[in-house]
Amino acid sequence: MGWIRLILALLGLVLAGLVIYWQLIVAEGTYLGPGVVALLYDWSAHVYERIKQFDVGDEQWFLGLPLVRALSLIPAPLVLDVATGTGRLPRALLRQPAFDGRVIGLDLSRRMLRQAVERTAQFADRLTYIWQDARRLPFDDDTFDAVTCLEALEFTPDAREVVAELVRVLRPGGVLLVSNRIGQDARWLPGRALSNEGFEQMLHSFPLEDVKRQSWQMDYDLVWAIKTGRPQGGGVRPLVEIARCPACRGQLNREARGLRCQDCGCDYPIAEDGVIEMIGKRAR
């Protein structure tokens, strides 16, 4: 019965191949632990951009432009991109002429970050990368005006744990942008990919409001949300930080009775009713 054994052996090989394909290519190592996911991304970092073929127009339309609009009222917004990979989101955002803030990108794969540094060199003065796990974000609570995490949650052991961290470092009133896995492959990610209902339910278990789902790609929907609570930080900054001398655009210091320009020495009194009088009588 030699041929039966041969067929069984062949079947076994095909099966093993399918399992390996499923575990490493479809699931990107998620069932084998975050270490394996990072290792696979380390290995493929140099071809990642070639595989993804990001379209500049799509990136601007779906990511850069809507984020800038959502942040438009905040001067110099601070944005955190978790699982930043090759710096896709920082690029989309910093290419927007209207964006005047800073971006911090964090990833578990060191080699992806190396690609990111190279591919975003032109924005280096407004961009910082950090090597760390998404499950333990190295920032204080209520820090960022926007927190993003794209095409990554389903490859973490527990999406809820990561979202908890994203929400923790987001300031009240800040913008959360994440993606949910959909499409054919999602069924091969049991326990990882969530249904649209399950994903939104999970988000609603956090202090988030205004949760909105938006079609994006074959494999992903975008989901936007706002952290509940009274907005603080971000746009609300000390006046001396944002106010400038109308005469010379110098920085202003707070004095006993008003504001004084560091550069030209002009004084701007604060009237009894609290109005800062920048026109009218100007004393030296």
């Binding site: 974000l137 204080d140 820090t143």
Partner: protein, 81 residues
């Protein structure tokens, strides 16, 4: 790029997140040493995170590696991976 703005918001991941979060308003503050080490200021933590090629390595395992070493004994610059 690691500058003052970043230092103001960066914290030790062990002391700021999860079940190991330390008490207090703003736990896990870091001090920058020699422009290439971030040292956790929590009394019983001692984790130290190297900055390699301008990228802070904020992995908890990396911080553990240098916890037993005194601040004076830290290599400058930190050895590569």
């Amino acid at each position: 790029m690691v500058d003052q703005d970043l230092l103001e918001i960066l914290r030790c991941p062990y002391c700021v997140s999860g079940e190991t979060r330390k008490p207090g308003d703003d736990p896990g503050q870091l001090q920058l040493l020699h422009d290439c080490w971030l040292v956790c200021q929590e009394p019983d933590c001692d984790r130290k995170y190297p900055i390699r090629d301008g990228i802070p390595v904020m992995l908890i395992e990396e911080g553990d590696k240098w916890a037993s070493l005194s601040i004076e004994a830290l290599p400058v610059p930190p050895p590569s991976e």
